[in-house]
Amino acid sequence: MANIGNVWVFIEQEGGNIAEVSLELLCKGRELAGRLGVKTEALLIGDKLGKCVDKLYEYGADTVFLAEDPRLEPFTVQPFAKVIMDLIREYNPNILLFGATMKGRELAPRVASEKLAGLTADCTSLRIDNFDDKVSKKSYTDKLMQIRPAFGGNIIATIVNTWDDPQMVTVREGVMKMDEPMVGRKGELIKVKPALSGVETVVKVIERVREDKDVNLKGAQIIVAGGYGVGSKEGFNLIKQLADALGGEVGASRAAVDAGWIEHDHQVGQTGITVRPKLYIACGISGSIQHRAGMTGGKKIIAINTDPDAPIFAVSHYSIVGDLKTVIPQMIKAFKAKA
């Protein structure tokens, strides 16, 4: 018999601000739930979060499970895992989605291990399909196809959880499309009393320092990104000048971040951010498979590189073989003359 559990989305929030990936997952969750004929339900966990609830309905949640407790703020893994496990035991969801954020990637495995459920990390695509397991000669209907890059991005694997539900995954930020909110849409609120004890609350946060990111690569329409070919920290000034001139954000490859020329927040690619801008200008980026994994969603890609054989040219719409130190000033000049 097919499982009739619902599709759940773990809602990540920081001080009551909901992470974008959670809204992306609600939209995706609604699509999957529609396909299965079940509900989309959100898990909102923390303290004093009542004001977040309506937004979750508007992005597609039919139900919001709200668990509030002072011991759930700030976030630590074990109390959150306990709340989620208790809910899983009571309601038996079919699918459980987490954002593949730092929090999601430390929380989801803790839950999956206790539940003895399969968990697939960093999915970039999800769909419902049947699965014939040729090894065990078993057939499964309406399973979640968990699609992810593996092996450093060199292969794309489709993974299926063949054990009991829930089918758990973490999903990369920025890969699922966020729909427009359905303003005024309502759902059902279920308040949950967290059953926490001293067992889960042993880890104490002594100090916590965080700043909201000042770069918004995910939402950027234009990104000018620099790689190892930029050559130095000072070289990034040129990248910034072009980004400023075009009204874009500055991105970077891992090589430039590792070299210490720019902060990790700017990193695009497998271990950075996935972007899908209108225009992506790759300057001095060779185009490793890990970098390409994060930027080929760009509508127009311009690559500037002195090496005509650089792999980046295989994915660029406009290829400029040349030195970025001369090409970028030419671009700034040309744009200022025309715009």
């Binding site: 960093d122 593996a150 092996f151 271990t271 001369t326 025309k338």
Partner: protein, 298 residues
Amino acid sequence: MTVSYTVIVFVKQVPDTQNITGEAMTPDGTVNRAALPAIFNPEDLNALELALQLKDRYDAKVIVGTMGPPNAAEVLRNALYRGADEAFLLTDRAFAGADTLATSYALSCAAKKYGKFDLILCGRQAIDGDTAQVGPQLAEKLGIPQICYVEDVVKLTKGKIIAKRAIEGGYEVLEAPTPSLLTVIDSNVPRPQNAKRIMKYKKAKTKSELIKANSTYTDANERAMEESRLDGKSLLIYEWSAEDVGADRERVGFAGSPTKVKEIMNVVLTATDSKMVEATEQGISSLIQELINDHTLG
């Protein structure tokens, strides 16, 4: 000799997926995975370094463990060369095909077999799967707290650890009781292998390696004596099977893995509709004009 703290570091031998050279590419533009060299997983080296720093700061014993095929003993020797005190290899055909759940269960059995420990350290993630799941799952299996994304240990005392770890957009300092599990990120510079230690520990062998090196080595008593001689000199790399660590065969390897791979597709470089633009003032100017015309710019 008694030490104050016991630290187990779990490491993994992985194919080098990050530096793929021409030789590992097939003519159709895909990666020949078998052609990639096997290396010490980079963040596991950071975990080992953090453990060795604890050994330097507080009187600690560092035990390094791995699960893998018999030749994974290579990364254990590498760890001994850098400063680890003991090593164990978890190897058994029954472990093959394990996903992260089955792996963390097998490692939890090995940790229990080892005995009492204060800390377990692992790299945040391995570069072949990039899942970052085994650390938290191992902590859950052992029923101990986890601190992920650790940059440094602030303080270790009997029964308590204080660690600094990365969070999105900043850092946290967390306090947890021991035993705890820490996953470590690329935040230190692993020390190199030490020449004197290489001289000593290149002789460190597993049981399988002893048998392989000496095919006449069939007498069980003789072998036991040789193993005990090496053990006395800390030159025996413990080799454990699923049975040795008391692992339930239904919970390890392929049988113990809920996730199955349905399909694998190689990523191929796809040539898009691509235009060459001259790196001249004229060429750049017409490119910018084209982008303004189609509303990409402006």
